[in-house]
Every structure is written in C-alpha cells, then in structure tokens.
Subunit: 115 residues, 2 copies
C-alpha cells in the first residue's frame, strides 16, 4: 500500500522548480514583497504569483496581512519535514550498508581462519 | 537570475509522488525487481515502469545489467544533494533568526539600563 502524504507531495513539487527555490533562498534572508521577488528572476508578476501560490499551498511561505504589500515570509517547518523524510531514508540505507560490511568482514575473518 | 539546476529539478520532481517515495523506501532495505516493487503498490507493471524511469532520470536508482531481472538499486548521492540544498536554506534562515534575536536582546538590555 502506498501511504499518501499530500504534504510531502506539495513540498517536493514546490521545491522542483528553480524559480521557486530561488524565491525560498531569497526569503531565507528576510521578508520580501512580490515585486522584490520578481526583480532578480526576470519574470512577470503573474508568473511570480503562480509560483508563490505553489509555495503557499506547500506552506513553505506565508503572506502578511497588510492589504497593500502582503510581504512573503519563509516558513521553515515544511523544509524540516522534507529533509526529515530524506534523512530517514538515508539512515535506513546506511544502516543496511553497515550490516552488509559487518557480514562481509565476518566471512573474511572465517575464511582467514580456515587457511 | 535564476540558477537552473536541472539535477535538483529532477530529484525533487521524483520525490514528489508517494509511489516513487514508497519505491525508494523499499529499495533502501535492499535491491528489488520491478515485480517486487509493483506488488505492495497495487499498480500495473507499466505504471511502475513509468515511475522507475523518473527515478532513474534523477539518478536516484540504477538498474542491474542482468537482462532478465534488472534489479533496481537505490543510489544515495542524489538524496544527499537534495537534503544538502534544504539544509543550506535552513542554516541561512536560522542564522538570520539568531541575529534577529541577538539584536532584540541588545535593544532590551539598553532599554533596561535607561530605567
């Protein structure tokens, strides 16, 4: 059975585009308006807004309530969720490699004794 | 300017689907054939093959050369690349929070002296 985790789906989808990663990297250095985010990306405001919506859906950013500016702010918790999933897989994989190495080392030692 | 990193695009796209994450989790515990990967997912072989191709494109898995079985194997390096990017963003964000806290603490201390 596949465990459907729509939270991870949304986070990894959001991280899969260079413009959205650039926006997150910018927001890591402080809040920014949509205009400020658009400038270095050489993108139209509607294109930027579309990317921001995907980041908001993944809860990677939140928007201020000020009607005129609505600055964007990075939310770090989903980043922790994403890297937590990846690190858990790496830990399982590394534990398996360690067991394999231990096993091969055991064979080698027993082989040595026979000689 | 957006720095286009097609490697990260492919990795995060591959991680954005629960079936592909389930396959990676399974492969973390050891090599598996396409049939073995398909079974717990209740998916057709062509559907599984499509997901495997996305994992291969992101270099998250490799396939054995044995023509009949071609077992799938997890490749951990792209997982490290993905979590490396995320952790770098978190580090920048946390350093900024630390500076902010330090700054606010300084204001508080100066305010205390004035009383």
């Amino acid at each position: 059975m596949v465990k459907y985790d729509t939270e991870l789906d949304a986070i990894f989808t959001a991280l899969a585009h260079p413009a959205r990663r650039a926006m997150l990297a910018r927001l890591g250095r402080g809040e920014a308006t949509v205009g400020e985010l658009a400038r270095p990306l050489a993108m139209t405001l509607p294109a930027v807004t579309k990317h921001l919506k995907m980041l908001e859906r993944a809860r990677l950013i939140s928007r201020g309530r000020d009607a005129q500016w609505r600055p964007c702010r990075l939310e770090a918790a989903p980043l922790a969720t994403a890297s937590g999933w990846i690190e858990a897989q790496r830990a399982i994989w590394e534990a398996r490699l360690d067991r394999l190495e231990h096993y091969l080392h055991g064979i080698e030692k027993r082989g040595g004794k026979k000689r």
